[in-house]
Amino acid sequence: MSDEPIEFDGADDGEDGGEDGGHQPSVPTSTPVVSAGGRLASVLSAQLIGISGLAVVVEVHASDGVPSFTIVGQPDGACREARDRVRAALLMSGFAWPQRRLTVNLAPATMRKVGAGLDLAIAVAVLVADGQLPPDRVRGRAFVGELGLDGTVRRIPGIVSLVDDLLHDDPNVELVVPASTVREALLLGRGNLRSASSLGGLIGCLQGIDPWPEPPDVSDDRAADVSSGDLAEVRGQPLARLGLEVAAAGGHHLLLAGPPGSGKSMLASRLVSVLPDLSHEESVEVLRVHSAAGLAVHGVRLPTRPPFRSPHHTASAVALLGGGSTAIRPGEISCAHRGVLFLDELGEFTPFVLDALRQPLEDGSIRISRAALSVTLPALPLVVAATNPCPCGWWGVPTGEVAGSPSCRCSDASRARYVRRLAGPLLDRFDIRVLVTPPDPDDLLSNAPGEASSVVAARVFAARTLARQRGVVVNAALRGNDLRRWVPITTAARKLVEARLRSGALTARGLDRVRRVARTLADLRGDAIESVLDADVIALALELRRPVLPDAANGAAA
């Protein structure tokens, strides 16, 4: 049947030509054109760059000549291989492979096409161009998905962004997504979604032979919140608990130092439990990033709890910051957006990688530029880092503080090297630094639980409410005039600060950071929104900022 000429509605051609040029690139036309020069079909699809879905029009031109199949429009390796996947999938789904000269153009031709997400659209367009599928069946529809050789439609990353951005461009378009991603695609709860599990099934539905599969019943699905533990399980450690609470309430980055087994990781993983729930907008931001990064998105509820990401210290700069030569994949710093980025064993990370974290943490976003394109990804995590004070971890622990603790066996040189790696400008970004020591046996054995996360979370929520009334999300974002307005200090507190500024123990930037932390401390204590900061909170903020690592030189000098 493939050689039979098909009918087409000439009006479509005119509609196509008269399309308004406002959209970039030109959106959904699914119009085959037959002329002496062959047949043309175009089908709408989309690809993911960073966390944005960009519309791609798949055009297929079929003409007489030596049978061939060419893909143009800057396909990358995976995309070029679509040729073989599409051919096998069509044949295995019972369709004929057109014995014609086929040219596939992926428009806009200036944009690099990445990945296998255009497979489904190419297959559909080939069928239309070959006349095996009437063009009106694909009009007003867009297709995304990867094809298996047997014709199954496979999941692709970033379905949330693809759906959201395509619908933003044209709310009336009907989207066909892989069946395995339909729950994820429904998360934002809008649009006209269809699912396809195989190419054969999809064509059946398009031709009206089979009914479209029912959308999954999502009414009783719950977002699976992974429990992060409760602060009640943490014994003792008053200063570390306070540091954690202040970090959560004020958005101040936190550094935990201490010997192995002192509970640094335990504390860090509980930071999420005292953070407030995500707002709707925040959830959408988080969801888009996670979907684009290919992370499992559970259930059909938006994530309500802030994410917790803990990359291993061997992570490369691209893994941490995002990137890649073709598709820009979000890095861990973006996956932890609006949540917690936990850098365990900070001293083991590559210094270059740590240095690269600095700018995004300051900006709240990261701009990744490559030769062909540049992408801005959100990156507003609360950073918690943990480190040993030296390679073995036992430096500076006095005899008797921890029963049976070994003494430090590191050489001066190796210790200095370890600390020097840490002592970059990133260290200055940690407003709160706490030395964590292994808990006292009395605390460990006592039955009295520590304060529960829910109690702390309530204080954190109240403090964040005050910050919002000041016009910022968290106190860590107070800058310039706002800082001066909201953080007045008493004379006694001023004396404390002045002594340290004069001795050089505190820099001007350090002072600003101390004031922000002190503001958060006062908020947590229940002070009024415009209260003057007294010596207690200033002293405590200074206390939380004291260096906890050995000096690069050593620090054991008399």
Binding site: Q237, G258, L496, D536, A539, A556, A558
Partner: protein, 383 residues
């Protein structure tokens, strides 16, 4: 003024002297044979040749010869090597047979052949006590070493130590900080132009300026592990009494003690808490060994050291403390801290004080100079 060391020195010393010359000339880029040629032409001893070259004086040498480079330029180059990193005074040489040598090394079986020095050899005319100990000492150990250094210096005694981290540095600082006449004498395991550890560069310069810095090595030689036991031998040779303030079970200070006992020098050790790991070695010196008397006598007080040296205590350290007496709450924190290293959390639990108040008390104690914060823990400061 200098006598040649070649005629009288034993064979072993001759070899060591040769080694010194080799190291010295290799660091200056001048070959040993060339140095000997200089010496032959000038009719000076090797020691005198070194001395002249290291102060940049080319006058004793014959007029320029050799492709393009005269003796004057060579001397200038030597001079640079000796001066680089050493300071204005430059490095000078003290060789076997020089004035004052036999008073210090005369009776010794294994003296060094030559020493490079900066400062004044007059420092060695005083009674000399070595104050040694571990590089990672407790806060109390550091405080006592400093106090001891200051007290014996006040009594006019020279404080000999190794300019290392921890006890050594504290003893030197004590001697420098007192108004006493007793100078500080530092013995290095590196060349004079190198500071090891590097944060002691200023301390080393101060010791050289007011006292004496000695070393067996050429000016630019860096730290090497084998050099420090040899350095400790020189400490034991130079000092008349050795005090171990705090030493671990296998510290280098025990090597100093070993060298000193072989030479019959009196040893003192500061008794310390048996649980303190960094004091296991010094405590061990005070224990009788299988019926034999202990190696060391206890040192509770600077007066114990002066008594052994038979030096009269000239002035007692002043009992006035310039620091403001802390109030009752602050005093309770200071007492809880003692001479240990404690975290803020620990102190808050120990005196049952809210964290806010504790932070304020600690900050004011810090401002008054009572305590110091290092790497997450508080330490009490000596006076």
């Amino acid at each position: 003024m200098m006598a040649s060391c070649h005629d009288s020195a034993p064979h072993a010393d001759h070899q060591r002297h040769e080694a010194l010359v080799e190291a010295f000339v290799s660091s200056s880029g001048l070959g040993a044979s060339r140095l000997r040629s200089v010496q032959r032409h000038s009719e000076l001893s090797l020691g005198e040749t070194l001395e002249c070259l290291s102060i940049g004086d080319a006058s004793p040498f014959p007029s320029p010869r050799r492709r393009g480079e005269g003796w004057g330029q060579l001397a200038a180059r030597f001079h640079d090597v000796c001066r680089s990193g050493v300071g204005e005074a430059g490095c000078r040489w003290w060789l076997a047979g020089d004035p004052g040598w036999s008073a210090v090394f005369g009776a010794d079986d294994d003296p060094p052949a030559a020493l490079a020095y900066a400062g004044s050899l007059d420092a060695l005319l005083r009674p000399r006590v070595a104050i040694v100990g571990t590089r990672s000492a407790s806060a109390a150990g550091l405080a006592f070493a400093r106090e001891l250094g200051a007290a014996v210096s006040t009594a006019g005694v020279a404080v000999v130590s190794g300019l290392a981290r921890g006890i050594d540095g504290a003893a030197h600082r004590g001697a420098l900080g007192s108004d006493g006449e007793g100078p500080a004498v530092g013995v290095l395991g590196t060349g004079l132009g190198v500071a090891y550890p590097s944060e002691h560069r200023d301390l080393q310069a101060s010791v050289a300026a007011s006292g004496l810095v000695l070393t067996e090595y050429e000016p630019q030689r860096g730290p090497r592990p084998e050099a420090f036991p040899l350095r400790n031998r020189i400490v034991a040779q130079v000092a008349q009494v050795v005090v171990v303030v705090e030493s671990g079970a296998s510290g280098g200070s025990l090597l100093t003690v070993h060298e000193a006992t072989m030479r019959g020098r009196p040893i003192l050790a500061v008794p310390n808490n048996p649980l303190l790991r960094s004091a296991a070695g010094s405590n061990g010196l005070l224990r009788p060994l299988e019926g034999a008397p202990p190696v060391a006598m206890p040192c509770h007080d600077p007066a114990d050291v002066l008594a052994v040296l038979d030096v009269q205590t000239i002035v007692h350290a002043s009992d006035d403390d310039p620091r403001m007496e802390p109030d009752r709450r602050s005093r309770s924190v200071l007492d809880a801290l003692g001479w240990d290293a404690r975290t803020t959390s620990w102190l808050a639990a120990a005196v049952a004080m809210p964290l806010g108040e504790m932070a304020r008390v600690l900050a004011s104690l810090e401002d008054e100079g009572w305590i110091v914060h290092r790497s997450g823990r508080w330490h009490r400061r000596p006076r």
